[in-house]
């Protein structure tokens, strides 16, 4: 075992017949932002619950903050912050009261909690809502309150399960900014998400999970380099002409992917590839060149089939 904050070896979780997590290995180091990326049902949330010491593992080994959650769950939870996928706040209570009762569950004194609440309300920009009831607050405010609540005990390790799902763009960006600040302050973050831009923004390192297994691991940049190309050229053709042209595109880029409505050319230099296409006399209806993203990696590794 290493001095990693989380260390998993051959970690497994089964629910009856269903294998949710199928023997995974990973390590989360102090101070980093670590991501679990994957489609629905990949096993991300099950893994998070095991780290959060609220779900016993079926097999394998797991250390969180150096301890085994099976035996020291309470001690581990005392030092974690957990931001669940769905806000589970006390809607009848005020913003302040939600934070107060939560701090009390950690055994903190009222004085310490009150100081901490002042800091956290400023940090999450909820100062003016201190005495508002939670129920009528916007989704973004509730999410920020859930994050403030998860930070009440000044955790070493913060677990965020799909932190920005369902939020509007402004609220997402504000949240990313806050999480980035936390990271700078030295809080270790573990994030699950299926938003690629979120993973690229926040994660130093991530694993992509599919069907309970880890498919690949690395920094966002590494993964793009390993599994995609620097740039992508997306071409759309006039209806009915794509098939005719598609065959002729093979060989013009290191990888060509043909989708029902467009063709993707993965390349290191989109402009040069576009020129090469034009030189062949192929005239797409429209062309978009863009940077390759984690989404390309993700779709390549986990497939384009819809998982439900």
């Amino acid at each position: 075992m290493t001095d990693a904050l989380v260390d998993a070896r051959n970690l497994r979780k089964e629910f009856g017949e269903l294998v949710a997590v199928d023997g995974i290995d990973f390590e989360v180091r102090a101070g980093e932002a670590f991501g679990f990326l994957g489609p629905n049902g990949a096993g991300k949330s099950s893994t998070m619950k095991m780290i959060g010491s609220v779900s016993p593992r079926t097999d394998g080994d797991l250390r969180v903050l150096g301890k085994d959650p099976n035996e020291h769950g309470q001690e581990i939870r005392a030092q974690l912050g957990v931001i669940p996928q769905e806000d589970n706040l006390d809607l009848e209570l005020t913003v302040y009261e939600n934070l107060l009762i939560y701090g009390r569950y950690f055994g903190m004194s009222r004085k310490v909690i009150n100081e901490r609440i002042d800091e956290l309300l400023t940090f999450t920009q909820l100062d003016e809502r201190r005495h508002s009831r939670v129920e009528p607050l916007s989704g973004g405010m509730k999410r920020r309150l859930t994050i403030a609540r998860g930070l009440i005990n000044t955790p070493k390790l913060l677990l965020l399960d799909e932190p920005t799902t369902g939020l509007d763009p402004q609220a997402r960006h504000l949240l990313w900014d806050r999480l980035y600040r936390l990271k700078q302050e030295g809080v270790t973050l573990i994030i699950t998400t299926h938003y690629m831009d979120e993973a690229e923004q926040l994660c130093d390192r991530l694993v992509i999970m599919d069907k309970g297994r880890i498919v690949t691991e690395g920094s966002p940049r590494d993964l793009i380099e390993q599994h995609s190309r620097r740039e992508v050229l997306e071409m759309r053709f006039a209806v009915g002409t794509q098939e005719e042209y598609a065959g002729r595109l093979e060989g013009l880029a290191p990888r060509v992917e043909i989708l029902p409505d467009r063709v993707l050319l993965y390349t290191d230099d989109a402009d040069a590839t576009a020129d090469a296409v034009a030189a062949q006399g192929i005239v797409p209806e429209s062309t978009v060149s863009r940077r390759s993203t984690l989404e390309d990696v993700f779709l390549r590794l986990t497939g384009r089939t819809l998982v439900e």
């Binding site: 939870r77 706040l89 006390d90 009848e92 107060l100 055994g107 005990n153």
Partner: protein, 259 residues
């Protein structure tokens, strides 16, 4: 922190939520028993006492009814607090998940929840006992004596119903509980009439029900009359229900929430 201290924190949080929500429950917990006392005890009671004369009851009907209603009210309160709020914590609001992410574990959550129900029951039974005294059904001292058994009855129900709720998928099971268990118990446990009025073959079944024992204890103590069954049986029955119910609730809640 010890288990007891953590349970205390759950009680504290429940009290805070109650402070914001008590208005919604005040009618059912405080006024309903008073309405029953008025309608049944005073209204129907006059008919019972003046009509053909009661051959079974040596006391006015209101006096007979009041301590039985105390036990029944405790049952209703305990059952109510162990059903919808528990379902909300498990499923609708998932506040139990939030609590279990902290050092608080399932045993502390269940014990804290039941302790809070105990405090609620104390309010309700003290108020009811005062009302009962004001109606002239008992004396202050005897009315107070009936509070502990009423508390025990309410807590016993709360424990066993928390266990029941922990297994439910949706609220249909709660509706069924009230329709097919709580309501029949309310009506046929000796609250409104002595069990000797029931056909002989069904009486043993009535003696086996928990509310009957609560009613027997409350009535015996409030009125200073003979108990319908030896009080040691009743106390043992209700204590066992509380202890086994709590252990079962911890087990089933763990199975439901720690997956």
């Amino acid at each position: 922190m010890t288990m007891l201290a953590l349970s205390g924190r759950v009680v504290e949080a429940s009290a805070r939520v109650y402070r914001r929500t008590w208005r919604g429950s005040v009618i059912s917990t405080f006024f309903n028993p008073i309405l029953y006392l008025l309608a049944m005890g005073v209204g129907l009671g006059q008919l019972v006492d003046d009509g053909t004369g009661s051959t079974t009851l040596a006391i006015p009907y209101l006096t007979f009814l009041a301590p039985g209603l105390l036990a029944a009210t405790a049952m209703m309160t305990g059952a109510g607090d162990a059903s919808w709020p528990v379902m909300a914590g498990i499923k609708w609001r998932k506040t139990y998940d939030a609590i279990l992410a902290t050092p608080v574990g399932v045993p502390e959550l269940v014990v804290g929840h039941l302790s809070w129900v105990g405090i609620r029951l104390l309010f309700v039974t003290v108020v009811y006992s005062g009302v009962m005294t004001a109606f002239g059904a008992t004396t202050i001292a005897q009315g107070a004596l009936a509070i502990p058994p009423a508390l025990l009855t309410g807590l016993g129900f709360a424990a066993i119903i928390t266990a029941y709720t922990a297994r439910l998928k949706d609220e249909q099971g709660l509706a069924a509980l009230f329709r097919f268990a709580i309501m029949p118990l309310f009506l046929f446990s000796g609250t409104f009439f002595p069990l000797s009025q029931l056909p002989g073959w069904i009486q043993p079944a009535a003696y086996a029900t928990p509310l009957f024992h609560g009613v027997s204890l409350c009535r015996g103590l409030a009125l200073g009359t003979d108990f319908a069954v030896h009080p040691m049986y009743s106390i043992t029955y209700l204590l066992a229900m509380l202890i086994l119910g709590t252990l079962l609730a911890i087990r089933l809640m763990g199975r439901r929430l720690i997956t």
